[in-house]
Symmetry: C2
Subunit: 119 residues, 2 copies
């Protein structure tokens, strides 16, 4: 997931109503009006939330007759999860590096300390 895309996805997820819409859309396809019934806010407000989700590609809209059907895009959701998993991987890498460093110290090695990649 490219960084700008990730911006859009996490922004879209940073709202309780939008996460709820995604959950409903995952369970089953939803028309925008059926979604709007569920919330106290106006139809237009819900429409805007759906638009935010659509821009992030977390959902796709598909016209069916006079209705617009909202479907969840699991792929984007998975890419977001994977991005968070990368953070975890960075953490594990750090642990490995520190372990290696400690082992080196313990063995009394006096050679050059690790070439920290610094990033």
């Amino acid at each position: 997931m490219s960084e700008p895309e990730a911006d859009a996805v996490f922004h879209a997820l940073a709202d309780t109503t939008r996460r709820d819409i995604v959950r409903r859309a995952i369970r089953r396809e939803q028309s925008i009006s059926s979604l709007a019934e569920r919330y106290t806010m106006s139809f237009a407000a819900v429409q805007k939330h759906v638009a935010v989700l659509e821009r992030s590609t977390l959902v796709v809209k598909e016209r069916r007759g006079k209705e617009q059907i909202v479907r969840a895009n699991l792929d984007t959701l998975r890419r977001a999860t994977r991005l968070l998993d990368e953070f975890e991987a960075i953490w594990r890498d750090r642990v490995v590096r520190i372990d290696a460093l400690l082992a080196e110290e313990a063995s009394g090695a006096t050679t050059a300390p690790s070439t920290e990649s610094e990033r």
Copy 2:
């Protein structure tokens, strides 16, 4: 993760600079000024990004002498990952439900909902 907390976490993650700060902080502790050096924006701007991350508890600050040290909080990161995993679980549940429904239809179950249209 409570919903308002999730709002803060995903909002914090919805910015390339902030995700980058988190990555750096995971690799090693960072002072705010050492972080600020890495970006073209002002020190105050970086300070604000760190404040957003701190509010979401994705990082914690700890004073060390005159410096303020930023450390990543993996726990919050993991809770965010878990929340995304729940979406995946909803999806799997849907698949199971649909499979069950199809199996029921195929077996010509006595209580099949569509038997009315058979003749």
